[in-house]
Amino acid sequence: MILASLRRKLSANVAGGLATALIAGSFVASVLLFMGFDPTSGGRTVKLLDWIDVGGMQIPLALRIDALSLTMMLIVTGIGSLIHLYSIGYMHDDERAPTFFAQLNLFSFAMLMLVMGSNFLITFIGWEGVGLCSYLLIGFWYKTPEYNYAARKAFVMNRIGDVGVVLAMVLLFQRFGTLEYASIMDMASGVNDPLLIAATLFLFIGATGKSAQIPLFTWLPDAMAGPTPVSALIHAATMVTAGIFLTVRSSVLFELAPFTKDIILWIGTATALLAASIGLFQNDIKKVLAYSTVSQLGYMFVALGLGSYSAAMFHVTTHAFFKALLFLGAGSVIHALGGEQDIRKMGGLKGHIKITYFTFLVGTAAIAGLPLLSGFFSKDLILAFAFQRSPVIFGLLLFGALLTTFYMFRLLFLVFYGTYRGKAHPHESPLTMTIPLMVLAVLSVVGGLLNLPHLFGGHEPMKHYLETAAAGIGYEHLELSALTEIILMGITTTLVGFVIYVAYGRFVKTTTLEGEEATMPVFKRLIAQRWRIDELYRALFEKPYAWLSTNLLAVAEKKVMVPLMNGVGDAAIRVGDVVRRVQTGNASFHLLAMLCGLILFLVITLMSN
């Protein structure tokens, strides 16, 4: 059954139907696995072959099936199948569609390796693999230099994160002598070692790269250059959650390193707020969603920093549902308008593309956390944990959530309400595209049931399920009284409702569009220009690097190193020149010299006797 899910890599370059069938097949395989899996057994490891075996290092190519990997497998294959199906419609007029599906399948393969690996190094295979696929798919339309740049940026930023992962792996290997998750987690419990702080910090650096956290988040908005299904699958639902997955995988280590958890907490909070603020004034439909993704990932990291791994995974799941939905919806809009992405040129689409509108509405409501939708439960769980830790964090996160609500509804209203401001003739997407939308919409609505809290009569099934795989979940304690929880939810919901009302007034009644950046007030312009972080990075890293590269060549290499080498050659030539003068060519002089040498030689011989 595991091989069934691996099989897709082999037959990847056929058309979309086959690709979809394959990934759907692997989804079925995953479901079967899920059905046949007994969570109490803790998981099993299937060894495929020896991979690296040198000296004391034995790293098998092995897969691990447990609650955590199964959850991720279901997300990856499930949403993956839907998005494949969607892509058939979306990419039908692109001549390189087979390539697209091949790369998409390769991505699924890598992502499955990532979640199924039984040790860090196998996970790393997938980790790098998804990076490569992400690179390929962002740069899918390779004829536009900006897209290539975005692809390269994504890969390089991921690579910087990978440095962290490699270092963490090396460190863990040095400490524990193995990279198997199970063994490390067993050995690590109770160990108090500053080494663990270093290792977890390195892991977190890797996670910031892959999951687009400060400081490595700028690649994700640029990654929207790729086709929209790619954005949905890779840059919203699956790949970007790899960092969270890895953290949950090694939750035991993080539990032993509270310092790292604090850092994760603050970075998560900062990212959530920063990205949400940027989202406020973006005009590109996909960019808004991208910043929203970054922001939501920030929430997940906050959950991790708070030690509530199950909440993070829960949010990963619900986020996968509604963000995939939103992206696909956005894709459908773009498709309907023949490639237009600027929301200033949309509006009033509610009547033209009903299914898209409706599903998009559901997604927006879910992400905003309207009661009883999936986002409501997962986000509130995080907020509750935050409140337990400190009201300040709770306040900040709540503010972030309100921002999210505001810009999401701004998006919704600007796109679907008001009057149509564009030129193209909007038309509804084919069935292959709308079916996934509907399925995802349903999931977004009911996703909350997966981890229904006690308050609503549930008993957090997902948490208990995951607990069998990630020991860190066992440390979680949410000890808020039911009353507090209800009050918190009440506050949140009220404020969200208020914000929606404000947004409605601003964008439906009057349709406020953002003007040119130059006319904005300073602060607003700063936000609209994404806090100028891209420019900052460019000035701070890219330009100096290029400068360094040019000058190392021009100065260090050409002026120092090459002359040094030439110096050796020239020295030889110069010595030759000096010696040459002795060679007058005058035979008697040579003879005389020879004679002198002979005399000298004889004298020395005689002396030494």
Binding site: V54, M57, N148, A151, F155
Partner: protein, 478 residues
């Protein structure tokens, strides 16, 4: 028998080519290299571990020169490497125009002979003789078939490497005096040289290999020479000859002056890594494809050398494994350089761009080669690099950080190069042919080797494992 065949096959065919100058020089050379490959594969299959001695003959005993040839696991790995890479090197000639192909291929085969000699020699002087002999055919290849400014660059290259060789000879003579005129490696390794002596003797011996590899700051001959050399010459230099440096360090420096290695270990690692980062940064702005490959090779070699000097099982095995990966990689990259040159007419990347539209298959092949260059997991390079990082960590965390940072630099310049060559808007007038059958025949096996050994590195690692452990344990006993 195997040793004799390995030395004789290329040598005889080389002589035949040079003397008879047949019209079909390249196929003959190709067959000869394939025959060598078959012999090596046979040796590999029949290898059961330990040191295999083929000949142990007296030659000029008074000078410590004896004809002792054989191999252990590492030697065999190097033989495999040479044998695998050479058919590709000869095969690369199909895209190139040479005058006097018979002599050219003959010289390449001579190089192969001497390289086999280097990797087979179990006597220090025999090693030295072969080591220097390899320079001679390469010298002529560079001098007569090189590009612009070849006289100057070739002579400088020659002087520079000879200087290193001289230093090595000096060290070997010193060792011979110490050992009472017995030049066999076994005898030299049994010497107990005092620590103070080892400290300076280390550099005397290592200088040759440092130049050959080359590591920073001895590298400056490399980029220009690689650029100027004919494609196949660059392949020989980059894929195989620099491995002599690694092999020399493993065979001579490590066992004979272990205390010196211990003393200079961190210095060498630091230098090597500085070189790796330095070259990685420079490579970014290179506008010439071939120079870029030269600098990227320089960068990889820095990490290789650092891994070797990590001086533990992981580091050394990783480095030796990576040596193999690097050879395959260099040949693949350079072949692509050649393929581009054939089509576009120069190696300048400014003249390329947008080629993916007209040659999607070649672009895909390029990407697969590139994946190895940036050491993505499940390629050969990843295994090597991972082992080296693990080894380096045991030496120093900061150095590891430096080493790991090269994977970022590698991604930066490689992807930038890929973008400049393949991606971007179409160029209107370019209707260039896509990958031909020859390109496929050439690159697909290389990529296959990369991937197979990336997924299943066991066979190679097995070869390396035992000798490295033996080396390290013999040193700790001393």
């Amino acid at each position: 028998m195997i040793a004799a065949l390995l030395l004789l096959i290329p040598c005889i065919s080389a002589l035949a080519l040079v003397i008879l100058r047949p019209a079909q020089a390249r196929p003959i050379a190709l067959v000869s290299t394939l025959a060598s490959l078959a012999v090596v594969v046979f040796a590999w299959i029949s290898y059961t571990g330990g040191m295999v001695l083929h000949y142990d003959l007296d030659w000029m005993n008074a000078w410590g020169l004896r004809f002792v040839v054989g191999y252990d696991g590492v030697g065999l790995l190097m033989l495999i490497l040479t044998a695998v890479v050479f058919p590709f090197i000869i095969g690369a000639g199909y895209g190139q125009q040479h005058d006097r192909p018979a002599i050219f291929n003959g010289l390449l085969l001579f190089t192969q002979t001497f390289l086999f000699g280097v990797f087979l020699a179990q006597n220090a002087l025999l090693f030295y003789i072969f080591y220097e002999l390899t320079l001679i055919p390469v010298f002529f290849v560079l001098l007569y078939w090189g590009g612009e400014n070849r006289r100057n660059i070739t002579v400088r290259f020659f002087i520079y490497t000879l200087l290193g060789g001289l230093s090595l000879l000096f060290g070997l003579v010193y060792l011979l005096i110490q050992s009472g005129g017995n030049g066999d490696f076994t005898a030299l390794q049994a010497l107990n040289i005092p620590g103070g002596t080892q400290v300076w003797l280390f550099w005397i011996l290592f200088l040759a290999f440092a130049i050959k590899l080359p590591i920073f700051p001895f590298h400056s001959w490399q980029p220009e020479t690689y650029y100027m050399a004919p494609l196949q010459g660059t392949m020989v230099l980059g894929a195989v000859m620099l491995k002599m440096g690694l092999f020399g360090v493993y065979k001579i420096v490590f066992p004979i002056v272990p205390l010196g290695v211990e003393h200079w270990q961190s210095t060498v690692i630091l230098l090597a890594l500085i070189g790796a980062v330095y070259a990685g940064i420079i490579a970014f702005r290179q506008s010439d494809f071939k120079r870029l490959v030269a600098f990227s090779s320089l960068s990889h070699v820095g990490v290789l050398c650092a891994g070797l000097f990590a001086w533990n099982t992981y580091g050394i095995s990783g480095s030796l494994y990576q040596a193999f990966a690097h050879a395959i990689l260099v040949v693949g990259m350079l072949y692509l350089v050649g393929a581009m040159q054939e089509r576009v007419g120069s190696t300048d990347m400014n003249a390329m761009g947008g080629l993916k539209s007209s040659m999607p298959r070649l672009a895909a092949l390029f990407l697969l080669v590139l994946v190895n260059a940036v050491a993505l997991p499940l390629t050969q390079s990843f295994v090597g690099e991972w082992l080296m990082f693990a080894g380096l960590w045991q030496v120093d965390g900061w150095l590891t950080l430096l080493a790991v940072s090269t994977i970022v630099l590698g991604a930066v310049y490689m992807l930038y190069a890929y973008q400049r060559v393949m991606l971007g808007p179409d160029r209107a007038n370019q209707q260039l042919p896509d990958a031909t059958t020859r390109d496929h025949l050439y690159l697909v096996p290389l990529i296959a080797v990369t991937l197979i050994l990336g997924v299943h590195p066991g066979p190679i690692l097995e070869l390396v494992d035992a000798p490295v452990l033996q080396l390290l344990s013999s040193l700790s006993v001393n």
